[in-house]
Every structure is written in structure tokens, then in C-alpha cells.
């Protein structure tokens, strides 16, 4: 049974560690300090934690104002609100002037499942990807989350990290290498295709690679945790070496990882490409695991689509 842990807690703990080391770290929340685990930092450094109430636009503006005085600001709410409701404030007052605000966006993808469409954030990566100056990270598990939080704290400028909600599988241990903008080759079983995966779906993708191996199909698995800046070299290399790409993400099929990879391939190394993502529709309430099954985000579907793209390559 895979061990699970909570990415929100991982963020909260990483933030606390940072706050203990650095006076410039502050946190702002929008009636989310408990749910986003800023309570951990607040217990030791209450004077550096600010709560603005159910007011996400003000969350971003207060973060901008704090950053302009020299603080490194962690601003937290749920990804649906940080990527849509307060997108303008993020774009104009944080990204444009490159202020040092790190948006930590919880309940990304299907992890908000039971809340329904009003809370499901399936287009956040696509929207944020289009904003200049924002480093965009989509970590796969608690280990990656903690490293991502510390990595963005070291850069000067805006960042956006999408995390989950409930406990999720621990995929990586401390030996996991995390470097902003650098893809990780997780598996190398052959050159029939490369599966490029980002975020929560890494777990299913690893399972799919194992299933393919058992069927005698050798593929590579490339993890892209940083959607911006994108490791274009790794993507081109994958296309050149394997000639077929399948992208996998917990996101709308438009605008996210699939779009980012396709943009790189088309101008550099066009190869057959497929995607496992959610169709361009509004989904519904349900448990995250149910929704993943219903909307095709499964290791079985990854296997199926990989075979299809290999066949396309061959033909």
C-alpha cells in the first residue's frame, strides 16, 4: 500500500522552516490560513502572518504591497480563485512589476473533487503559463512540494505552485533532485516513446510505464515539474531519441502541459504526439479518484494511448 502524505502540510512545514531562517518571509491568506497550513508558521511567527478574509483580490494586492517593502511573500488560497478570480491582480501587480510573491495554490486539479465545478481548478496551469515573469511549478508529491517551496524562495520574482488537498502518494524520497526548470528522467526502459508527465499524475504514469514494460514495450518517463521556464532541451531530446510523445496531466487538454510541449515540438522536432488530459468540458462533483477514472486519467488509459502513439509513429 503506497504511503500517503499531505502536500498542504508539506508546504506549511517548508514555510515554517524558511521563516525560522529568514526574517523576510511573510505569509498572507484569504480565510485559508488553517486549510493551507500557514497555522504552522503562525504558531511561531504570528506577527508575520496576515489574514485578509474571503477576499482573494485583496490577497494579491496586499501581497504586492508587502513585497514592495522587501518581503518575500507567500500568498495562499485555492487554485481556482488564485488563477481566475484574482488573475488580474496577479498579472498586473505582481507579475508585471516582478514582485517577490509566491502564490501557493491548493486544491489543484481534481483534488477539489467533492466541491464541484465552482472549486475544480482545471485550467490554472494554462492561465498562469500565459502570464510573463511567473515561474510555474506543478510538483508531484510532498517531497517535490517541499523542495519547490524552498526553491522558489531563493529566486527573486513571482512564482506559482499548484498543490493538492488530501493525502496523496509519496512518490519520491529525499534523493529526488529538484531544480527549477529542469526535467527529470524518471524511467528509461527503451526508446519506443516518451511519456512526459507533470504533477499528480506522476503516480499513474509510473504504474503505466511498469505495465508497458511487462508487455515488452520500453518507454521513457520524463517528469516536468516546472512548466515555466520549460526544459525545452529535454523535450526536444526526448522527441529526437524516441520519436513519439505522450503528455499526461490533471488539467484541461487545452493550454497546460500538452500545449507547452506541443509548442516546443512543432518548431523543433515535430513528432507524433498524444495527450492524456481532461476533455475541454466542465466536469462535476466526485471524489478525486472517481473523477480521475471517469475522465480518463488512469494508468490504463496512459498505456492505451502510448500504444496508439507508437503505432502512429510506426505508420
Amino acid at each position: 500500500m503506497t504511503k500517503k502524505e499531505n502536500t498542504r502540510k508539506a508546504f506549511g512545514q517548508a514555510l515554517l522552516e524558511l521563516a525560522r531562517q529568514r526574517d523576510d518571509i511573510v505569509a498572507v491568506s484569504a480565510d485559508t490560513y488553517k486549510s493551507m497550513r500557514i497555522d504552522l508558521m503562525r504558531a511561531e511567527f504570528p506577527e508575520r502572518c496576515f489574514e485578509v478574509g474571503i477576499a482573494e483580490q485583496n490577497l494579491m494586492m496586499v501581497a504586492a504591497g508587502l513585497a514592495s517593502t522587501g518581503k518575500t511573500v507567500f500568498a495562499t488560497s485555492y487554485s481556482i480563485f488564485t488563477s481566475t478570480r484574482s488573475l488580474e491582480q496577479l498579472r498586473t501587480f505582481i507579475a508585471y512589476p516582478k514582485l517577490n510573491v509566491k502564490v501557493i495554490a491548493g486544491l489543484g486539479g481534481f483534488t477539489a473533487g467533492i466541491e464541484g465545478v465552482t472549486h475544480l481548478s482545471m485550467v490554472d496551469l494554462g492561465l498562469i503559463r500565459c502570464i510573463p515573469n511567473v515561474v510555474l511549478v506543478n510538483p508531484a508529491d510532498v517531497t517535490a512540494t517541499a523542495k519547490a517551496v524552498k526553491a522558489v524562495a531563493e529566486i527573486d520574482g513571482p512564482a506559482y505552485i499548484r498543490i493538492g488537498r488530501d493525502d496523496s502518494p509519496i512518490i519520491f524520497d529525499e534523493s529526488y533532485e529538484f531544480s527549477l526548470g529542469k526535467a527529470n528522467l524518471l524511467e528509461d526502459n527503451g526508446v519506443e516513446a516518451t511519456i512526459i508527465v507533470s504533477g499528480f499524475m506522476v503516480h499513474q504514469a509510473l504504474e503505466a510505464v511498469r505495465m508497458l514494460k511487462e508487455q515488452g514495450i520500453g518507454v521513457r518517463l520524463l517528469e516536468i515539474h516546472t512548466l515555466k521556464p520549460l526544459d525545452e532541451k529535454a523535450i526536444i531530446d526526448a522527441a529526437q531519441k524516441t520519436g513519439a510523445i505522450l503528455t499526461v496531466e490533471e488539467h484541461n487538454c487545452i493550454g497546460g502541459l500538452a500545449g507547452a510541449v506541443a509548442e516546443v515540438l512543432v518548431g523543433n522536432c515535430p513528432v507524433p504526439m498524444g495527450k492524456v488530459a481532461v476533455d475541454d468540458i466542465f466536469t462535476e462533483s466526485g471524489r478525486p479518484d472517481e473523477l480521475r477514472i471517469k475522465y480518463g486519467l488512469t494508468s490504463e488509459n496512459i498505456v492505451e494511448k502510448t500504444k496508439q502513439i507508437i503505432e502512429k509513429k510506426t505508420n
Partner: protein, 283 residues
């Protein structure tokens, strides 16, 4: 039935529907529900759906119906219970509450739930939509009224104040908001998260008629709703003092029950307490 009797009957209905809702949630085996805010809003919804609203459950899309927007959409469990009781759909369907493919979820979906006028859940949006509906009605000289049920926490959302400004500017006397003021939000007391007080004064200063009342007293709610219909030239906000988790001792005023699930022992205690309350008011 005389007015007093009707009021008493509604009071009993609200108490009974609390128990119905809790049983429904247990039966559906939902992984969790927004108990606190669903319990605090029950009298408000009862007064609206069983006294005030001009609606026809047999005809949920009747164009001249009054509109009711549950802006605090996370109280969907309460809304579903009320709508079932009112006859919009068979109560048995609620067994699927929060199941995959069910029309009934943690936040309401206007395309799936008969009787639901707006897909709410993203706080702060119900009132702006209500303003739009009210403007549409006025423009077309139609009689239906619009009611918006809000949480107090969501009054921190700037979009509420944009709507309040517009409501006043356009003299939307056909619009009535009701704030379920239970003093608590996800992270704790609203007084600590974001001070709302003096809430009534703020809303008045933006040009609305404001009525304060006890949000668990059907008579006061009904009186307030009737007064709202007499307003000519400005919208009304009823600020209703409530208790989050009303009716269940270990939930009352405890923000940690914003969302949760009862274990077996707790469920037994909950049913016992709610049944006792029913008996006390002679249901």
C-alpha cells in the same frame, strides 16, 4: 390557518428538516458535509421556501417565479433537503448526495437540481447575480422578486460590495438579501479573520434598507421579509443572527464543524438531540 399557527408550523418544519438533513447525509454516506453552515441557515430557507417565495415545484422553470440564490452554496445539503420537502423531487433521490453522477453535490448545480436558480459556491457571487436578475425583472416590468442568502464571511468579498452599490443605485426594491450571520468562517470567528462589524451600518451607508433579526425565529424572519416587500426605491438586507451548527450541542459555535462527518456515536447523539428539540416545540 391563522398566522400564528402558520408561524409555529414553520418553526416545527425547520426543526424537523434539520433532522431530515442529518439523516439524509448519513444515508448517503457522504465523505463529509458543511454541517455548521447548513444547520444555521435552516430557518431562513424554511421561511423563504414555505412562506415567502412565489414558486411552483411542479414547474421549476416557471418564468414568473421568485428567484432564490443560495450564495453560500456550501449549505447545499440544507437547500436540497428543503427542495425535496417542498416537492421539487422525491426525497429518495437524496440517497445519492455527493455520489459520482448524482445531481446533488456539496455545492448546487442549477442544471442538475430542480428548483436551484444559480450554481453557487464561489463565495461573493450570489448577490451580483441577484442584482442582474432584479434589474432584468425591473426592465421588463415583471413582478417576481429575488432573494439572495449569503454567509457573513463572504461579505469580505469585494464583489458583494460592488453588487450592494449597484443594488442601491438601481433602486432594486425587488431584491432582498439575507445574511446568515453565524459569526464563523472556515478559519474561525469572522471577528478575527476579517472584522465585519458594524455590518448593518456599513450596508445602510451604501443605501440599503437593513433589518436585523434573530435568524432562528421564523416570526421575525417572516416580518422582515414582509417589510422588504413594502420598500419602494431601495433593496433590503436582512441581517439574521444565527448559530453555526444550530441544534446540535457539540457543533454550536464551533467553527471546526464548518465541514466534517459524524462517527457512529456522534450520529446517535445528534439524532437524539434533534429529536428532543422537535418534541420540545411540539412537532
Amino acid at each position: 390557518m391563522g398566522k400564528e399557527n402558520k408561524i409555529m408550523e414553520l418553526q416545527r418544519t425547520a426543526a424537523r428538516l434539520r433532522l431530515e438533513m442529518v439523516k439524509m447525509l448519513k444515508e448517503s454516506d457522504t465523505p463529509g458535509a458543511h454541517y455548521g453552515g447548513s444547520l444555521s441557515v435552516m430557518e431562513i430557507l424554511t421561511a423563504l421556501y414555505f412562506h415567502t417565495l412565489k414558486i411552483d415545484p411542479a414547474n421549476p422553470t416557471w418564468s414568473e417565479r421568485d428567484r432564490c440564490i443560495l450564495s453560500k452554496g456550501h449549505a447545499c445539503a440544507a437547500l436540497c433537503t428543503i427542495l425535496a420537502e417542498r416537492g421539487y423531487f422525491p426525497r429518495e433521490l437524496l440517497k445519492t448526495f455527493n455520489h459520482l453522477d448524482s445531481p446533488f453535490g456539496v455545492h448546487p448545480d442549477m442544471h442538475k437540481i430542480p428548483g436551484c436558480d444559480v450554481s453557487a459556491g464561489s463565495l461573493g457571487h450570489g448577490l451580483p447575480i441577484g442584482v442582474g436578475m432584479a434589474m432584468g425583472a425591473k426592465l421588463q416590468k415583471r413582478d417576481f422578486r429575488i432573494y439572495v442568502v449569503l454567509s457573513d464571511g463572504e461579505m469580505a468579498e469585494g464583489s458583494c460590495w460592488e453588487a450592494i452599490m449597484a443594488g442601491s443605485h438601481y433602486g432594486l426594491s425587488n431584491l432582498c438579501g439575507l445574511i446568515d450571520r453565524n459569526g464563523l468562517s472556515l478559519d474561525g470567528p469572522t471577528s478575527q479573520t476579517m472584522t465585519l462589524e458594524p455590518l448593518s451600518q456599513k450596508i445602510r451607508s451604501f443605501g440599503w434598507n437593513v433589518i436585523e433579526c434573530n435568524g432562528h425565529d421564523i416570526r421575525q424572519l417572516v416580518d422582515g421579509l414582509e417589510q422588504a416587500t413594502c420598500e419602494d426605491g431601495r433593496p433590503t438586507m436582512i441581517v439574521a443572527d444565527t448559530i453555526k451548527g444550530k441544534g446540535i450541542s457539540f457543533l454550536e459555535n464551533d467553527h471546526t464543524w464548518h465541514y466534517g462527518k459524524f462517527d457512529d456515536d456522534q450520529y446517535v447523539q445528534v439524532c437524539h438531540e434533534l429529536e428532543k428539540k422537535l418534541q420540545e416545540i411540539g412537532a
